[in-house]
Amino acid sequence: MFFSKSFRQGVKAAVPVWIAFIPSSFALGMAAKGYGLRWEEIVLMSALVYAGPAQYAVVEPLAAGKPALQILIATVLMNLRFLPMSATMAPYFRGVKRTRLLWASHFISASSFVLPYVRFQKEEKEAASTGTAAQTGDDNLSFFLGIGMTAFCVWVAGTAVGYWAALSMPPGFEEVLKFILPAYFACILAIDLRERMAAAVCILCFVAAVPAALWNTDWGWMITAIAIATVVWRIEEWRRPA
Protein backbone atom coordinates (compact mmCIF):
# COMPACT_ATOMS: atom_id res chain seq x y z
CA MET A 1 0.00 0.00 0.00
CA PHE A 2 2.77 2.47 0.95
CA PHE A 3 4.36 2.13 -2.48
CA SER A 4 1.12 2.23 -4.44
CA LYS A 5 0.59 4.95 -7.01
CA SER A 6 -2.34 6.39 -5.04
CA PHE A 7 -0.28 6.64 -1.84
CA ARG A 8 2.56 8.41 -3.65
CA GLN A 9 0.07 10.80 -5.25
CA GLY A 10 -1.28 11.51 -1.77
CA VAL A 11 2.22 12.25 -0.46
CA LYS A 12 2.80 14.73 -3.31
CA ALA A 13 -0.55 16.39 -2.69
CA ALA A 14 0.25 16.69 1.03
CA VAL A 15 3.11 19.18 0.66
CA PRO A 16 0.89 22.27 1.24
CA VAL A 17 -0.53 20.57 4.36
CA TRP A 18 2.99 19.98 5.71
CA ILE A 19 3.82 23.63 5.10
CA ALA A 20 0.71 24.67 7.03
CA PHE A 21 1.46 22.21 9.84
CA ILE A 22 5.05 23.31 10.45
CA PRO A 23 4.34 26.72 12.05
CA SER A 24 1.26 25.57 13.97
CA SER A 25 2.86 22.44 15.43
CA PHE A 26 6.01 24.41 16.21
CA ALA A 27 3.93 27.07 17.99
CA LEU A 28 2.08 24.36 19.93
CA GLY A 29 5.36 22.84 21.13
CA MET A 30 6.65 26.23 22.20
CA ALA A 31 3.42 27.11 24.01
CA ALA A 32 3.42 23.75 25.79
CA LYS A 33 6.86 24.53 27.18
CA GLY A 34 5.69 28.02 28.11
CA TYR A 35 2.75 26.65 30.10
CA GLY A 36 4.86 24.02 31.84
CA LEU A 37 3.91 20.75 30.15
CA ARG A 38 6.61 18.11 29.85
CA TRP A 39 8.09 17.25 26.43
CA GLU A 40 6.73 13.70 26.43
CA GLU A 41 3.26 14.94 27.39
CA ILE A 42 2.86 17.31 24.45
CA VAL A 43 4.48 14.91 21.97
CA LEU A 44 2.23 12.08 23.17
CA MET A 45 -0.75 14.40 22.88
CA SER A 46 0.18 15.30 19.32
CA ALA A 47 0.55 11.62 18.43
CA LEU A 48 -2.59 10.36 20.18
CA VAL A 49 -5.01 13.26 19.85
CA TYR A 50 -3.70 14.80 16.59
CA ALA A 51 -6.13 17.71 16.52
CA GLY A 52 -4.59 21.18 16.54
CA PRO A 53 -7.45 23.34 17.86
CA ALA A 54 -8.37 20.82 20.58
CA GLN A 55 -4.76 20.49 21.69
CA TYR A 56 -4.41 24.24 21.72
CA ALA A 57 -7.60 24.53 23.77
CA VAL A 58 -6.34 22.23 26.51
CA VAL A 59 -2.65 23.18 26.82
CA GLU A 60 -3.31 25.84 29.44
CA PRO A 61 -6.06 24.03 31.42
CA LEU A 62 -4.04 20.81 31.43
CA ALA A 63 -0.91 22.55 32.67
CA ALA A 64 -2.91 24.50 35.27
CA GLY A 65 -4.51 21.33 36.67
CA LYS A 66 -8.07 22.24 35.66
CA PRO A 67 -10.77 19.54 36.02
CA ALA A 68 -10.35 16.56 33.69
CA LEU A 69 -14.04 16.77 32.75
CA GLN A 70 -13.60 20.32 31.49
CA ILE A 71 -10.65 19.25 29.33
CA LEU A 72 -12.51 16.25 27.91
CA ILE A 73 -15.63 18.31 27.14
CA ALA A 74 -13.51 20.95 25.41
CA THR A 75 -11.87 18.18 23.37
CA VAL A 76 -15.21 16.71 22.35
CA LEU A 77 -16.68 20.09 21.41
CA MET A 78 -13.63 21.10 19.38
CA ASN A 79 -13.50 17.73 17.62
CA LEU A 80 -17.21 17.33 16.90
CA ARG A 81 -16.40 18.58 13.42
CA PHE A 82 -14.73 15.19 12.78
CA LEU A 83 -18.19 13.59 12.69
CA PRO A 84 -19.37 15.25 9.46
CA MET A 85 -15.86 15.02 7.93
CA SER A 86 -15.57 11.32 8.63
CA ALA A 87 -19.17 10.59 7.56
CA THR A 88 -18.63 12.45 4.27
CA MET A 89 -15.46 10.48 3.50
CA ALA A 90 -16.88 7.08 4.46
CA PRO A 91 -18.68 6.31 1.16
CA TYR A 92 -15.39 6.70 -0.74
CA PHE A 93 -13.79 3.94 1.35
CA ARG A 94 -16.41 1.32 0.47
CA GLY A 95 -15.07 -2.21 0.39
CA VAL A 96 -12.05 -1.45 2.56
CA LYS A 97 -11.39 -3.93 5.36
CA ARG A 98 -12.60 -2.75 8.76
CA THR A 99 -9.20 -3.25 10.36
CA ARG A 100 -7.68 -0.79 7.86
CA LEU A 101 -10.47 1.70 8.48
CA LEU A 102 -9.96 1.36 12.23
CA TRP A 103 -6.36 2.57 12.17
CA ALA A 104 -6.68 4.88 9.17
CA SER A 105 -9.42 6.86 10.94
CA HIS A 106 -6.85 8.28 13.33
CA PHE A 107 -5.39 10.37 10.49
CA ILE A 108 -8.59 12.29 9.77
CA SER A 109 -8.04 15.97 10.42
CA ALA A 110 -9.44 19.18 9.00
CA SER A 111 -6.37 19.63 6.80
CA SER A 112 -6.17 16.05 5.59
CA PHE A 113 -9.90 16.00 4.85
CA VAL A 114 -10.27 18.72 2.23
CA LEU A 115 -7.72 17.54 -0.36
CA PRO A 116 -8.86 13.90 -0.62
CA TYR A 117 -12.52 14.85 -0.49
CA VAL A 118 -12.21 17.31 -3.39
CA ARG A 119 -10.26 14.74 -5.40
CA PHE A 120 -12.73 11.90 -4.70
CA GLN A 121 -15.65 14.07 -5.78
CA LYS A 122 -13.85 15.14 -8.97
CA GLU A 123 -12.93 11.55 -9.85
CA GLU A 124 -16.48 10.39 -9.20
CA LYS A 125 -17.87 13.06 -11.55
CA GLU A 126 -15.30 12.23 -14.23
CA ALA A 127 -16.05 8.53 -13.96
CA ALA A 128 -19.77 9.22 -14.27
CA SER A 129 -19.35 11.46 -17.33
CA THR A 130 -16.89 9.21 -19.17
CA GLY A 131 -18.50 5.94 -18.12
CA THR A 132 -15.19 4.60 -16.76
CA ALA A 133 -14.81 2.79 -13.45
CA ALA A 134 -14.30 5.00 -10.39
CA GLN A 135 -11.31 4.45 -8.07
CA THR A 136 -11.73 1.61 -5.59
CA GLY A 137 -12.12 2.23 -1.87
CA ASP A 138 -8.59 0.88 -1.32
CA ASP A 139 -7.13 3.33 -3.87
CA ASN A 140 -8.95 6.20 -2.21
CA LEU A 141 -7.79 5.12 1.23
CA SER A 142 -4.19 4.89 0.01
CA PHE A 143 -4.40 8.43 -1.37
CA PHE A 144 -5.91 9.65 1.90
CA LEU A 145 -3.19 7.92 3.92
CA GLY A 146 -0.49 9.47 1.71
CA ILE A 147 -1.73 12.81 2.93
CA GLY A 148 -2.86 11.89 6.44
CA MET A 149 0.13 9.83 7.59
CA THR A 150 2.79 12.21 6.32
CA ALA A 151 0.95 15.25 7.70
CA PHE A 152 0.67 13.40 11.02
CA CYS A 153 4.46 12.81 11.09
CA VAL A 154 5.08 16.50 10.36
CA TRP A 155 2.66 17.45 13.15
CA VAL A 156 4.30 15.26 15.79
CA ALA A 157 7.85 16.18 14.74
CA GLY A 158 6.95 19.89 14.60
CA THR A 159 5.58 19.76 18.14
CA ALA A 160 8.75 18.09 19.43
CA VAL A 161 11.04 20.56 17.63
CA GLY A 162 8.98 23.53 18.84
CA TYR A 163 9.35 22.34 22.43
CA TRP A 164 13.11 21.95 22.02
CA ALA A 165 13.32 25.41 20.47
CA ALA A 166 11.51 26.84 23.50
CA LEU A 167 14.00 25.11 25.81
CA SER A 168 16.83 27.10 24.29
CA MET A 169 14.91 30.37 24.42
CA PRO A 170 16.93 32.95 26.40
CA PRO A 171 15.37 34.74 29.41
CA GLY A 172 13.21 37.72 28.46
CA PHE A 173 11.46 35.81 25.68
CA GLU A 174 8.61 34.45 27.85
CA GLU A 175 6.25 36.78 26.01
CA VAL A 176 6.90 34.81 22.81
CA LEU A 177 5.79 31.56 24.45
CA LYS A 178 2.62 33.18 25.78
CA PHE A 179 1.74 34.97 22.56
CA ILE A 180 2.71 32.72 19.68
CA LEU A 181 -0.09 30.13 19.71
CA PRO A 182 -3.12 32.37 20.36
CA ALA A 183 -1.75 34.72 17.70
CA TYR A 184 -1.52 31.89 15.19
CA PHE A 185 -5.08 30.74 15.83
CA ALA A 186 -6.38 34.32 15.69
CA CYS A 187 -4.68 34.70 12.30
CA ILE A 188 -6.18 31.45 11.02
CA LEU A 189 -9.64 32.56 12.18
CA ALA A 190 -9.24 35.98 10.57
CA ILE A 191 -8.26 34.44 7.23
CA ASP A 192 -10.85 31.69 7.39
CA LEU A 193 -13.87 33.82 8.25
CA ARG A 194 -16.01 34.61 5.25
CA GLU A 195 -19.51 34.69 6.73
CA ARG A 196 -20.75 37.64 8.74
CA MET A 197 -22.46 35.46 11.35
CA ALA A 198 -19.31 33.38 11.93
CA ALA A 199 -17.37 36.61 12.39
CA ALA A 200 -20.02 37.76 14.87
CA VAL A 201 -19.58 34.52 16.85
CA CYS A 202 -15.81 35.05 17.00
CA ILE A 203 -15.96 38.70 18.03
CA LEU A 204 -18.65 38.12 20.68
CA CYS A 205 -16.82 35.11 22.13
CA PHE A 206 -13.49 36.97 22.10
CA VAL A 207 -14.99 39.89 24.04
CA ALA A 208 -17.12 37.83 26.44
CA ALA A 209 -14.58 35.11 27.27
CA VAL A 210 -12.50 37.05 29.79
CA PRO A 211 -15.43 38.32 31.96
CA ALA A 212 -16.94 34.85 31.73
CA ALA A 213 -13.69 33.23 32.86
CA LEU A 214 -13.43 35.71 35.73
CA TRP A 215 -16.98 34.78 36.75
CA ASN A 216 -16.16 31.06 36.67
CA THR A 217 -12.55 30.09 36.05
CA ASP A 218 -13.19 26.51 34.99
CA TRP A 219 -16.40 26.65 32.95
CA GLY A 220 -17.27 30.32 32.32
CA TRP A 221 -15.57 30.79 28.94
CA MET A 222 -16.81 27.46 27.61
CA ILE A 223 -20.46 27.93 28.63
CA THR A 224 -20.40 31.44 27.20
CA ALA A 225 -18.90 30.29 23.89
CA ILE A 226 -21.48 27.51 23.54
CA ALA A 227 -24.31 29.93 24.38
CA ILE A 228 -23.12 32.57 21.90
CA ALA A 229 -22.55 30.04 19.09
CA THR A 230 -25.98 28.51 19.71
CA VAL A 231 -27.84 31.83 19.81
CA VAL A 232 -26.14 33.19 16.67
CA TRP A 233 -26.73 29.90 14.86
CA ARG A 234 -30.42 29.90 15.84
CA ILE A 235 -30.77 33.52 14.61
CA GLU A 236 -29.15 32.60 11.32
CA GLU A 237 -31.38 29.55 10.84
CA TRP A 238 -34.43 31.63 11.67
CA ARG A 239 -33.44 34.30 9.10
CA ARG A 240 -32.48 31.77 6.42
CA PRO A 241 -35.22 31.25 3.81
CA ALA A 242 -36.85 27.82 4.16
Partner: protein, 107 residues
Protein backbone atom coordinates in the same frame (compact mmCIF):
# COMPACT_ATOMS: atom_id res chain seq x y z
CA UNK B 1 -7.62 11.62 43.48
CA UNK B 2 -7.34 13.76 40.36
CA UNK B 3 -6.28 11.89 37.21
CA UNK B 4 -2.73 12.48 36.00
CA UNK B 5 -2.03 14.53 32.90
CA UNK B 6 -1.14 11.40 30.97
CA UNK B 7 -4.47 9.82 31.88
CA UNK B 8 -6.28 12.93 30.68
CA UNK B 9 -4.30 12.87 27.42
CA UNK B 10 -5.28 9.24 26.88
CA UNK B 11 -8.92 10.21 27.59
CA UNK B 12 -8.64 13.00 25.02
CA UNK B 13 -7.21 10.52 22.53
CA UNK B 14 -10.10 8.10 23.07
CA UNK B 15 -12.85 10.68 22.58
CA UNK B 16 -11.10 12.14 19.53
CA UNK B 17 -10.67 8.69 18.01
CA UNK B 18 -14.31 7.82 18.68
CA UNK B 19 -15.46 10.92 16.81
CA UNK B 20 -13.29 9.93 13.85
CA UNK B 21 -14.05 6.23 13.69
CA UNK B 22 -17.77 6.03 14.49
CA UNK B 23 -18.87 7.59 11.18
CA UNK B 24 -16.52 5.25 9.28
CA UNK B 25 -18.11 2.21 10.85
CA UNK B 26 -21.71 3.27 11.41
CA UNK B 27 -22.60 6.35 9.38
CA UNK B 28 -21.41 5.40 5.87
CA UNK B 29 -23.19 7.64 3.40
CA UNK B 30 -25.11 9.43 6.11
CA UNK B 31 -25.68 13.02 5.03
CA UNK B 32 -25.00 15.56 7.73
CA UNK B 33 -27.67 18.30 7.63
CA UNK B 34 -26.04 21.59 6.47
CA UNK B 35 -27.58 23.42 9.44
CA UNK B 36 -25.76 21.10 11.88
CA UNK B 37 -22.60 21.45 9.90
CA UNK B 38 -22.88 25.22 10.33
CA UNK B 39 -23.54 24.86 14.05
CA UNK B 40 -20.45 22.71 14.61
CA UNK B 41 -18.38 25.24 12.68
CA UNK B 42 -19.71 28.14 14.76
CA UNK B 43 -19.05 26.17 17.92
CA UNK B 44 -15.43 25.55 16.94
CA UNK B 45 -14.97 29.21 15.93
CA UNK B 46 -16.48 30.42 19.20
CA UNK B 47 -14.36 28.13 21.35
CA UNK B 48 -11.14 29.06 19.55
CA UNK B 49 -11.91 32.80 19.82
CA UNK B 50 -12.65 32.39 23.54
CA UNK B 51 -9.40 30.55 24.12
CA UNK B 52 -7.41 33.16 22.20
CA UNK B 53 -8.86 35.80 24.49
CA UNK B 54 -8.42 33.93 27.79
CA UNK B 55 -4.88 32.72 27.07
CA UNK B 56 -3.77 36.22 26.08
CA UNK B 57 -5.42 38.27 28.78
CA UNK B 58 -5.63 36.05 31.86
CA UNK B 59 -2.85 34.99 34.18
CA UNK B 60 -4.42 32.19 36.18
CA UNK B 61 -7.71 33.57 37.47
CA UNK B 62 -6.59 37.21 37.19
CA UNK B 63 -6.98 39.71 34.36
CA UNK B 64 -3.48 40.72 33.28
CA UNK B 65 -4.05 44.48 33.32
CA UNK B 66 -0.44 45.42 32.56
CA UNK B 67 -0.03 43.11 29.55
CA UNK B 68 -3.53 43.45 28.03
CA UNK B 69 -3.01 46.71 26.05
CA UNK B 70 0.28 45.67 24.43
CA UNK B 71 -1.00 42.17 23.63
CA UNK B 72 -4.13 43.67 22.08
CA UNK B 73 -1.94 45.88 19.86
CA UNK B 74 0.32 42.97 18.93
CA UNK B 75 -2.69 40.78 18.18
CA UNK B 76 -4.22 43.48 15.99
CA UNK B 77 -0.91 43.72 14.07
CA UNK B 78 -0.77 39.92 13.69
CA UNK B 79 -4.34 39.71 12.39
CA UNK B 80 -3.87 42.69 10.04
CA UNK B 81 -0.72 41.15 8.53
CA UNK B 82 -2.41 37.75 8.20
CA UNK B 83 -5.46 39.21 6.46
CA UNK B 84 -3.36 41.38 4.12
CA UNK B 85 -0.95 38.60 3.16
CA UNK B 86 -3.47 35.72 3.48
CA UNK B 87 -0.73 33.98 5.43
CA UNK B 88 -1.30 32.97 9.08
CA UNK B 89 2.37 32.15 9.70
CA UNK B 90 3.45 35.61 8.52
CA UNK B 91 0.86 37.20 10.81
CA UNK B 92 2.01 35.09 13.74
CA UNK B 93 5.65 35.96 13.14
CA UNK B 94 5.17 39.73 12.80
CA UNK B 95 2.70 39.79 15.71
CA UNK B 96 5.07 37.84 17.96
CA UNK B 97 7.93 40.20 17.15
CA UNK B 98 5.62 43.13 17.94
CA UNK B 99 4.57 41.50 21.25
CA UNK B 100 8.21 40.95 22.18
CA UNK B 101 9.25 44.51 21.34
CA UNK B 102 6.27 45.98 23.20
CA UNK B 103 6.98 43.85 26.29
CA UNK B 104 10.64 44.99 26.26
CA UNK B 105 9.55 48.61 25.91
CA UNK B 106 7.15 48.20 28.85
CA UNK B 107 9.81 46.56 31.05
Amino acid sequence: MAPSRLTIIVGMALVSYALRVIPQLLLTGWGFPPAWDRYLRYLAYGLVASIVSTTLFLSGARFDVAAAPRRTIALAIAVAVAVMTRNAAAGMLIGTIAALLLSWMAA
